[in-house]
């Protein structure tokens, strides 16, 4: 029974993190799939969202600025907006750069953002990070929440405490996973609606033939910046959710570009850029492969050790983390060559002219 619950909880955690990556991939899809913007600064924008959220929602702290103890929802909205504002500034400056250039510029900007979070110790506690970040649902079981409004309207501290103590200790986990999936769903619905709308049509036109789009009265530059901002705002939201999931963030490793930016790119390209469903599918697929491969690899190495009896497998075991990275690289090469347009390729909506 414990084992079953365990697998269920692991599955929920896969869904949660997969959902967070799905949001990142959806944001990137707006950048790249819709508008053709090669944004390689995902980690930086997610960090902006995560830090905004954390500084606003954590309880007061002597380590870093903020700790305003604001409600989680406000933190999420703020993460969404601040990421957008920063993207607007960057977008206006950088948007005319094309393809690889934009990629290199955004990587650079993401690194600068990280350096700021790392060095402005007064603001962010620097590399020591921010901890005790509230997590949706679970945070209600903390006294500072249930003893204040609105929860205190429904009962006093003791009865709330007793209520939470009576629940299984993972009561919040399905709710948290569902919350993330809810965000994915809402963003998906909105983006899908946008994609099928005149806006999506216009973005496709701009991507297909910029000159003609301009001659048809479309302000190409403004639209590009707009797509950049919208995608980045979604990444900011994902950052806020990641901060909740981890409950602790620090600038160096949490937002490591090779595990965040590149992984999200792999997800989008594998899933199918331009296709929202592809972005979500790719995110879950690659995250499942990434996370579950640790379990399989260890078993696999054991089997190798048993086959070649006496072979020293401890080296392989200690380096299995690198084998996983190798695996992801090979998956990427396979998908690129086998499914150059992604597993779910982009499809324009069927014409509406009846």
């Amino acid at each position: 029974m414990d084992a079953l619950i365990g697998y269920f909880l692991y599955f929920l955690s896969l869904l949660s993190v997969g959902g967070i990556y799905a949001l990142l991939a959806l944001g990137l899809n707006v950048n790249w799939g819709f508008a053709g913007l090669f944004n390689a600064g995902i980690a930086g924008f997610a960090a902006v969202g995560a830090y905004t959220f954390s500084l606003l929602t954590t309880a007061e702290s002597t380590f870093h600025y903020g700790g305003l103890g604001l409600p989680v929802v406000i933190g999420e909205i703020a993460a969404f907006l601040i990421a957008g504002i920063i993207a607007a500034v960057i977008g206006i400056i950088c948007i005319r750069l094309r393809a690889d250039y934009l990629a290199i510029a955004t990587i650079g900007i993401a690194e600068i953002i990280k350096l700021i979070f790392k060095n402005e110790v007064e603001l962010t506690n620097g590399p020591r990070g921010i901890s005790k970040i509230p997590r949706t649902w679970e945070h209600f079981s903390e006294a500072r929440y249930f003893s204040s409004q609105p929860l205190s309207w429904f009962g006093d501290s003791q009865s709330w405490q007793a209520f939470f103590d009576s629940l299984v200790n993972w009561w919040w986990q399905p709710l948290f996973a569902m919350t993330i999936l809810f965000f994915v769903f809402v963003v998906y619905i909105m983006l899908e609606k946008a994609r099928l709308s005149p806006w999506g049509r216009m973005m496709t036109a701009i991507r297909e033939n910029e000159v003609a789009a301009r001659a048809a009265g479309k302000n190409v530059t403004k639209r590009r910046v707009e797509a950049f901002i919208i995608g980045t705002m979604i990444m900011g939201l994902a950052g806020a959710l990641l901060a909740q999931h981890l409950r602790f963030i620090e600038p160096t490793h949490t937002f490591d570009p090779s595990k965040m930016t590149f992984l999200v790119w792999v997800m989008l390209i594998a899933g199918g850029s331009g296709n929202n469903r592809g972005a979500i599918f790719g995110a879950f697929l690659i995250w499942f492969v990434w996370s579950a491969s640790e379990l399989f690899l260890n078993g696999f190495i054991d089997i190798i050790g048993n086959i070649f009896n006496g072979m020293d497998i401890s080296m392989l075991k200690n380096r299995s983390g690198y084998l996983r990275m190798l695996l992801i690289g090979l998956v990427l090469q396979f998908v690129l060559q086998k499914y150059p347009k992604g597993i779910l390729p982009e499809r324009r909506p069927a014409a509406s002219g009846e």
């Binding site: 094309r98 393809a99 690889d100 290199i104 990587i107 350096l115 390209i269 190798l326 690289g329 990427l332």
Partner: protein
């Protein structure tokens, strides 16, 4: 004892900046060549550099094992250059060539993938740990010190730096000779100018691409070995750490302009080292914590105000 160093700026800021610049410059040559000739940003370039350094270390150890003493790294790197070039060529053949006519993003993604694959292979084979490349402390080169001493100066430059700077100069001269005097070098410039025209002129573009990997691979290994000689250790993440500054150098100098890359490398190297110089007051100008931001900032500013680079390279 500190006050005795009259030549402080040159010894501790200028020469280190120059050395770093040389290493960046060599790496940036490969990047700018692939950017100019194959038209994509090769994210795996830093890994070739790192692999070259690891191979060189392996040959150093082999030399100790077989001959009983360590060769100089500049000798031990010769076989690793060939291996690294072979790696670069086979990566091109199997992972880049299928995307020659595809949108750029495909080949850039493929190079992302290669970056992960090469690095993790190195980590699986050699392990993730830091490996000592050369032991000990490099004392200032005596000849140079005495020589400069007779001019009332004090040049405290370790021999390894003399090697690196001279080596880079020699490679640059050889490279210049190749680009302006040899047939294949001219063809590389031609393809960089216009691949379409090169094709209809009858130039064997695939041969030129192979030559690009030869030159890029050679320069990358040299950069990796110089870097290893300077830091005296090697690590599997050294390539990625160098990648962004090298990109910055390539763009700064102007894409497709090898000498721009050299210039860009030097600028970035100097800027990084000099950002910590106490230009005003006693403290460093910029907190060293922001050091790696210097290259990125220069890069971003450059992209915005002069995307064609110092030497007016190509803008896509």
């Amino acid at each position: 004892m500190w006050d005795s160093f009259g030549f402080e700026f040159v010894n501790y800021y200028f020469v280190p900046g120059l050395v770093l610049g040389c290493i960046y410059a060599l790496g940036a040559i490969g990047i700018t060549l692939t950017f100019g000739i194959l038209r994509f940003a090769n994210f795996a370039h830093g890994e070739i550099m790192m692999t070259g350094a690891f191979l060189t270390w392996t040959f150093l150890e082999l030399s100790k094992l077989i001959f009983g003493f360590y060769f100089h790294p500049l000798i031990a790197c010769i076989p690793s250059i060939f291996i690294a070039i072979a790696i670069a060529l086979s990566v091109d053949r199997f992972f880049y060539k299928p995307f020659r006519d595809s949108p750029t993003i495909m080949i850039v993604m493929a190079s992302f993938g290669m970056m992960l694959i090469i690095r993790s292979l190195v980590q699986v084979i050699w392990g993730p740990n830091q490996i000592t490349f050369v032991k000990g402390i490099a004392k200032p080169n005596g000849i140079l010190r005495d020589l400069s001493g007779s001019f009332d100066m004090m040049l405290l430059v370790p021999s390894k730096h003399v090697f690196i700077i001279l080596g880079t100069v020699i490679i640059m001269l050889a490279f210049n000779y190749m680009l302006t005097k040899t047939r294949i070098g001219k063809a590389m410039r031609a393809v960089s100018d216009s691949p379409d025209l090169a094709k209809v002129t009858g130039i064997d573009v695939e041969q030129v691409i192979r030559a690009t990997w030869y030159v890029g691979g050679f320069c990358a290994v040299m950069a990796g070995v110089f870097m290893a000689m300077d830091t005296q250790f090697i690590m599997s993440t050294m390539g990625f750490r160098m990648l962004l500054p090298m990109f910055a150098a390539a763009i700064l100098g102007g894409i497709g302009r090898p000498f721009g890359a050299v210039l860009g490398g030097l600028v970035i190297g100097f800027a990084e080292e000099l950002s910590a110089y106490p230009w005003f007051g006693n403290g460093p100008l910029l907190s060293p914590g922001y050091k790696s931001g210097v290259a990125f900032s220069i890069l971003v500013v450059m992209l915005i105000f002069r995307p064609s680079g110092i030497l007016k390279g190509r803008v896509f």
